[in-house]
């Protein structure tokens, strides 16, 4: 009995050691290996999965077109489970174990921030498709992004509320549990007040709450012109429904966190007369985007790609574009090439990387009409 116990321990150890020993550093001389880390499970899994679909599609198209100088491009994916420490672990593994030349990832800024530290320490370029928190690229010269940042997004919605909706007053309903929401709410507030508007009430909820009536009743009593809800789609649907049910008729505004198929599924008709800023419009007529949407639908069972998928797709091509321009396929040269990305035409518009390693690009505002988000306006930087 006890002997077995000791034996089993020895067995576990030998087994784990051999597993560890077998996975030695990869030899990648006959292919280009990129790393991707994302939330395949956990709180923001939806975003991670969409991004991955976009990247996979891009990778397949790229390889089908001949690859890079005859070499195939592979993307190694790890799930970070939406946890910061897992993000750090997986990126470490990608860089030090799998020996990737560059890393693509994360949607959630809190995860990108942690991984950025790792990438900086290991001098490996990291390209975030959709982290909008300004702090991410401030981590250092190896960290890039191809999406606009929250201050811009806040500005866009504040400007939009003032100019297009003629709003003088606004209410903010933020999700204190999400760093994204808190950040965006702050930037909107700043911008809206800078444009002469007034924030009447700034109240909060926590994602996964199911009852918002108490806060909404407060908001309703203040009677603002618009209500800004910079949350994620899964809560926004419920919020919109409850807002409409207690008689709030004002337009609801939001950010790119709203972008998901599931938004309308939960929110339904309550989402009419709502606007949100996004990276691209699914009903766009821009040729690159149209082609992307068609091939995406073909691959994924007629599913309309959301912005995360589009950005994932673009991130891959921006990365390959940089690798092509780089002097050699080394981390250092790819970093330099990424920094010089200029007017890259992607699904989400023209991307130019500026000195802060952020993308300078336009945002679109979508309106929900007849149960579908539709293009409403473009806001240039």
């Amino acid at each position: 009995m006890k002997k077995n116990l000791i034996r089993s321990y020895v067995a576990i150890f030998v087994a784990t050691l051999s597993v560890v020993a077998c996975t030695k550093k990869e030899d990648n001389s006959n292919k280009i290996l990129l790393g991707e880390y994302g939330s395949m499970t956990g709180e923001v899994a939806n975003f991670g999965q969409s991004t991955h679909k976009g990247i996979t599609l891009a990778q397949e198209q790229y390889n089908a077109a001949g690859g890079f100088n005859g070499k195939q491009v592979e993307v190694k994916l790890y799930d970070d489970q939406s946890k910061p420490e897992e993000a750090a672990n997986t990126v470490t593994k990608l860089i030090t174990q799998d020996n990737v030349v560059a890393v693509i990832g994360e949607v959630a800024s809190s995860l990108s921030l942690v991984a950025a530290d790792v990438a900086m320490r290991n001098k490996t370029p990291m390209l975030s498709p959709s982290s909008t928190n300004p702090d991410v690229t401030k981590k250092g010269e190896y960290i890039f992004r191809i999406c606009f940042i929250d201050p811009f997004q806040g500005e866009v919605m504040a400007k939009f509320a003032g100019q297009n909706l003629h709003a003088k007053t606004a209410a903010i309903f933020r999700d204190v549990k999400q760093d994204y929401s808190v950040g965006l709410a702050d930037f909107f507030k700043k911008a809206f007040e800078a444009h002469g508007g007034k924030i009447l009430i700034d109240t909060a909820y926590q994602s996964k709450d199911s009852d918002f009536k108490a806060q909404l009743t407060e908001i309703k009593a203040k009677n603002p012109d618009v209500i800004f809800i910079p949350g994620y789609y899964n809560d926004v649907g419920l919020i919109a429904q409850q807002a409409r049910s207690i008689g709030i008729k004002q337009p609801l505004l939001g950010g790119d966190g709203w972008d998901s198929q599931d938004l309308v599924k939960v929110g339904g008709a309550a989402l009419e007369n709502t606007y949100f800023s996004d990276h691209y419009a699914p009903d766009t007529t821009e040729p690159t985007a149209v082609k992307f949407i068609a091939s995406y639908k073909a691959k994924y069972g007629n599913e309309t790609p959301d912005a995360m998928a589009a950005l994932g797709y673009d991130a891959f091509f921006v990365m390959m574009d940089a690798i092509k321009r780089a002097k050699s396929v080394s981390r250092e040269d790819i970093k330099n090439a990424l920094a010089q990305t200029k007017d890259f035409q992607g699904v989400t518009g023209k991307t130019t990387i500026n000195a802060e390693r952020n993308a300078v690009k336009s945002a679109v505002v979508l309106v929900v009409k007849d149960g579908k988000p539709k293009y409403f306006a473009t806001v240039e930087p």
Binding site: T41, G42, A45, N46, V176, T203, A204, Y205, Q206, K208, D209, S210, D211, K213, A214, Q215, T217, E218, A221, N234, D235, G237, L238, Q241, S245, I246, G247, D262, K265, V266, G268
Partner: protein
């Protein structure tokens, strides 16, 4: 003032749902003296069964009151069976084991459901189908009462009355009360203790499933982890009312629902969850038996 009454009404309807879940906790605790951590997850499963049943019956496009009852019944029965299985497979073998082992098992079962559901149903939220048309609202002196809230009140009260009937007017109920008093004596009296415990689990799980359906209809967003907070808060409500006491659980749950609503509207909205736990700690320290419970001294 109208606003205040409005908050009370909303709070009561929320509390009614807590009450349905709290009943399961309190009944199981009364009979086995342990917290069934997995109870909140049964609630979640009940909601998901409602989702699939409602969609299968095509109720989303053709809402009907009968469809609602069919879905409700189906979900309650299936969840009851799941509750029975959980008790039979995970808890019954541990009847004589130290309580800490049962507790760890319960935590394990709870997590198994939560992550199993993520795998089975997907981690993304699902939109609950419309079972009945509940878009109408009524106004009484400026206070708005949604027809959904009326549905919640009606169903809760009916189920509560049914449970009262079972507990106090039937032989099974009498046996349950006997078992909760003393297992061994009940056994000596010829009461099939194991069967009674199973029935308790089935009843509690069915109540939780009903709550799941009601939550699905009121807040049509289902996710695998939805049972955690609901479950914990319902548990707090049960403790608040005096665990093991059925009526206490209901009163505790209603107070809980209302006070949460008031915290959100007049206090700091984001401290809603923290409030529940703070309440629990305060109750346990100053009045561990809750509002209506009785304490039992340990036999030495």
């Amino acid at each position: 003032m109208t606003e205040f009454i409005q908050h009370i009404v909303n709070g009561l309807s929320f509390g009614a749902i807590y009450a349905l879940i709290a009943l399961g906790y309190t009944m199981v605790y009364g009979i086995l003296q342990f917290i069934n951590f997995a109870h909140g997850d049964i609630f979640m499963i009940g909601a998901y069964i409602g989702y699939y049943a409602g969609n299968a019956l095509g109720l989303n496009d053709h809402p009907s009151i009968w469809g609602f009852f069919v879905v409700l019944l189906l979900s309650m029965v299936t969840s009851g069976v799941i509750g029975f299985l959980v008790e039979f497979l995970a808890y019954r073998p541990l009847r004589k084991a130290p309580r800490i082992n049962v507790l760890i098992t319960a935590v394990g079962v709870s997590l198994f459901f939560e992550f199993g559901a993520q795998m089975l149903f997907g981690a993304n939220p699902k939109a609950f189908p419309h079972l009945v048309d509940v878009s109408k609202s009524f106004y009484i002196g400026g206070v708005q009462i949604d027809s959904m809230e009326l549905v919640v009140f009606t169903v809760t009260i009916l189920l509560m009355l049914a449970l009262e009937f079972v507990l106090y007017r039937t032989k099974v109920g009498k046996a349950m009360r006997a078992v909760s008093h003393d297992h061994n004596v009940a056994l000596l009296l010829g009461i099939p203790v194991n069967m009674i415990i199973s029935i308790t689990f089935v009843l509690g799980s069915a109540m939780a499933a009903a709550a799941g359906i009601l939550v699905g209809m009121s807040y049509p967003k289902l996710e695998p982890l939805m049972g955690v907070m609901f479950g914990l808060k319902a548990f707090v409500a049960a403790v608040f009312g005096g665990i093991g006491n059925v009526r206490g659980a209901v009163v505790g749950a209603l107070i809980m629902g209302v006070s949460e609503q008031l915290i959100v509207s007049y206090g700091v909205p984001t401290f809603r969850d923290a409030f529940a736990f703070a309440l629990l700690i305060v109750v346990l320290i100053f009045r561990p038996k809750g509002l209506f419970g009785k304490t039992l001294a340990e036999k030495v």
